[in-house]
């Protein structure tokens, strides 16, 4: 056999060096997976959206891209997020998603923030055939619309209120006073609570609605204080959750159970009320770093990436779980959206907040939960099977 000529040798070396040098580029040259969403970066929804939702999308895309991209049936493709500000305006949300799905034809979409915006885009998801895994939508009516492409990750008003009333009953509460924001979220939760209270032996002594953006709740809280109920429940948004808490402290209204809704599970709540001031406050929360090793890893990664900003102990976990489901689904069935929908609808998913399974649009595997601030951490305290700490059934005085 003839010796390889100098030229052949050179060719071989050049090819090897070339391949080594260009192989990563060839890998990266896989077309990106384009994922679109609209998010509230300005306007009244921003407070919730920038805590519970968008940070997760950014963290997820960064983590996946660090692994070489999103696993699409075994092929890693970089994630390209296509996003815009919806200015907390439903009309803009709808137009953005129509563009993303109708003319831009992105590969996948991620949902917008809040019950109202999701309510508006849910029918579009169906029309264009894009699966939506919504982490911040709470509405019985969304479930009743039976939209095959729309999935709600968060526990809905009924299981949440049932869990709350179960807990109150088990701890001997007899009277309750309620305030609720007069929009879809507040009204549906209030209705679910009324149903849950039937036959529970707990009497409603006062109920008042208030408009979003309220600046003073003290007249209402003072009259509630006069009626001395065992329980205060507020179906509130973050600014009102903090307002109600601060003003309850101000007027000296300190019932045994003080429950508020969106925002109670935020780091902001602890910052504003101080850990001692938040002690014993109940609220909507379903996980924390103790829930699972995955939850701990997620919590730490989130806090690291956003300079100490913690995810909230309710919807952030559901949002991350939704991204986990999406990742697993795309790895298994690729970007065929019909197949992806079927995968989401029929699989029992393992996530950081526990198993998730959908019955129609609703996540029926995650039970309704109640959270409570204890020593600077928002613990899950009800039901006991998912609890991370024991309930303190008597809130200490406000500090």
């Amino acid at each position: 056999m003839a010796q390889p000529s100098k030229r052949t040798l050179l060719k071989g070396v050049a090819a090897t060096v070339g391949a080594a040098a260009f192989a990563p580029h060839l890998l990266a040259a896989q077309p990106p997976v384009r994922i679109g969403y609209s998010m509230s970066r300005t306007g009244p929804w921003t407070g919730g959206a920038q805590v519970s939702q968008e940070p997760n999308y950014l963290l997820w895309a960064e983590q996946q891209n660090a692994l070489g991209g999103l696993d699409v049936k075994g092929v890693r493709r970089p994630i390209e997020l296509v996003s815009s500000d919806d200015r907390s305006d439903t009309e803009t949300v709808v137009r953005t998603y129509e563009k993303l799905m109708g003319s831009d034809k992105v590969d996948l979409v991620l949902p917008p923030w809040g019950s109202n915006a999701n309510f508006a885009v849910a029918p579009l998801a169906n029309r264009f055939g894009y699966p939506f895994l919504a982490p911040t939508a709470l509405s019985k009516r969304l479930v009743e619309m039976k939209l095959p492409y729309f999935f709600l990750l968060l526990q809905q008003p009924k299981p949440m209120c049932d869990a709350l009333v179960d807990m109150l009953k088990a701890n001997g509460a007899k009277t309750i006073a309620v305030i609720y924001v007069d929009d879809l979220f507040g009204l549906e939760n209030y209705a679910a609570l009324r149903v849950a209270l039937q036959g529970s032996g707990i009497t409603m002594v006062e109920d008042k609605s208030y408009p979003a953006g309220v600046k003073d709740l003290s007249p209402v809280l003072r009259s509630m204080k006069d009626k001395n109920p065992d329980v205060f429940v507020g179906f509130t948004y973050p600014p009102d959750t903090i307002l109600a808490s601060k003003q309850a402290k101000e007027v000296g209204f300190n019932p045994r159970f003080f429950y508020a809704s969106v925002g109670t599970a935020f780091q902001l709540y602890r910052n504003v009320m101080t850990p001692a001031g938040a002690e014993g406050v109940l609220g909507m929360g379903s996980w924390n770093g103790k829930t699972s090793p995955g939850a701990k890893a997620y919590f730490d990664a989130h806090t690291r990436k956003f300079g100490g900003k913690e995810p909230d102990r309710w919807a952030s976990g559901a949002c991350w779980a939704g991204l986990e489901i999406l990742t697993a689904g795309v790895a298994k069935v690729g970007l065929d959206r019909k197949a992806l929908r079927d995968y989401i609808a029929t699989t029992r998913h393992k996530t950081i907040i526990g198993d998730i399974q959908f019955t129609g649009s609703e996540n029926t595997a995650t039970p309704g939960t109640v959270g409570q601030w204890q020593n600077g951490e928002f613990e899950v305290v009800w039901p006991s099977k998912v609890a991370t700490a024991k309930l303190n059934p008597s809130k200490p005085a406000w500090k």
């Binding site: 300005t42 921003t46 609605s209 408009p211 003073d216 209402v220 601060k246 007027v251």
Partner: protein
């Protein structure tokens, strides 16, 4: 309802009203004196609130210390804004009505500019801190210490402004300008110096209001607008250009809202405020607390 419950309710209304009054005074100064309907007034209040929050959380500076700092920063900003926008408008507008309409447009622009600047700078999230939230007992009733402080300071600053306008030569000049701009100019009052200064003081007051509000409420870049609307209602109640009227109007609105919320529902608060607003505009457009033909 017992007498103490009544007093408590009225006192809580007065506290909220004190804040309304302070916000309204700044706007009233700008509108009453210069016919600049500064729709962005609430946005500058928000800047004052953010400055206070920023220095409190980053450097541990007392929010109380930030009250004068916010005033000075916003005053300087106000003079600059006047120099950049309204001075030119004054020179190019053929008459006061055209100036008012153009000024309104400019103020709208400023509103978006300032709001988006804050959003870009600090993000859209809710912010807040804990400061003097311990309840203080006053007889049977109790109130948060920070609210009492806010109320007290709101009264002090409102009073100071009224004294400034009534007792000093500067105030006399300003009131003369409100009554008759041309007459005042003919008497040698320097509008070119007085206008920017008063616009600046108006913004400075909004800075104070923002600093005070951040002690009691959570803040966002979008917090300003409702305060502008409330301020408009208050100055309509009190009479355009009337400082005493704005003070009484603010307190009055606060009490009415507190009583309304107690006896009906907080959801009806906006309805109540606007009903009063419309009724005053229809029945007594010069304001509830001014004698006809007399201002400030």
């Amino acid at each position: 309802m017992s007498i103490s419950a009544w007093l408590e309710l009225i006192a809580s209304g007065l506290i909220t009203g004190g804040i309304y009054a302070l916000v309204a005074l700044g706007l009233n100064l700008q509108y009453g004196l210069m016919r600049i309907l500064n729709i962005a007034h609430g946005e500058f209040l928000m800047v004052g609130a953010y400055l206070t929050w920023l220095f409190q959380t980053s450097y541990g500076l007392s929010p109380l210390l930030m009250v004068p700092v916010s005033f000075v920063v916003l005053l300087v900003l106000g003079v600059a804004v006047h120099f950049l926008c309204f001075r030119r408008l004054t020179a190019t507008s053929p008459n006061l009505d055209v100036f008012e309409a153009r000024g309104l447009m400019v103020a709208f622009g400023l509103m978006f500019l300032v709001q988006n600047f804050a959003s870009w700078m600090w993000g859209g999230e809710l912010r807040g801190y804990d400061y003097m939230t311990e309840p203080v007992k006053l007889g049977e009733a109790q109130f948060a210490a920070n609210k009492l402080l806010v109320f007290f300071l709101a009264l002090v600053f409102s009073g100071a402004l009224i004294v400034l306008l009534r007792m000093t030569l500067l105030g006399k000049g300003v009131r003369a300008l409100m009554q008759s701009p041309i007459g005042a100019q003919l008497m040698g009052i320097d509008t070119r110096r007085l206008h920017p200064l008063m616009f600046g003081i108006g913004l400075g007051l909004s800075g104070i209001a923002g600093a005070l509000l951040s002690m009691a409420y959570t803040i966002t870049p979008f917090m300003g607008q409702p305060y502008t609307v409330t301020a408009l209602i208050v100055i309509t109640l009190g009479g355009f250009g009337s400082m005493g009227g704005a003070l009484i109007g603010g307190l009055f609105l606060g009490v009415i809202e507190a009583l309304g919320m107690h006896f009906s529902n907080p959801s009806l608060k906006a309805l109540l405020s606007y009903a009063i607003f419309i009724a005053v505009l229809l029945l007594r457009p010069e304001g509830l607390f001014t004698r006809k033909g007399r201002k400030a």
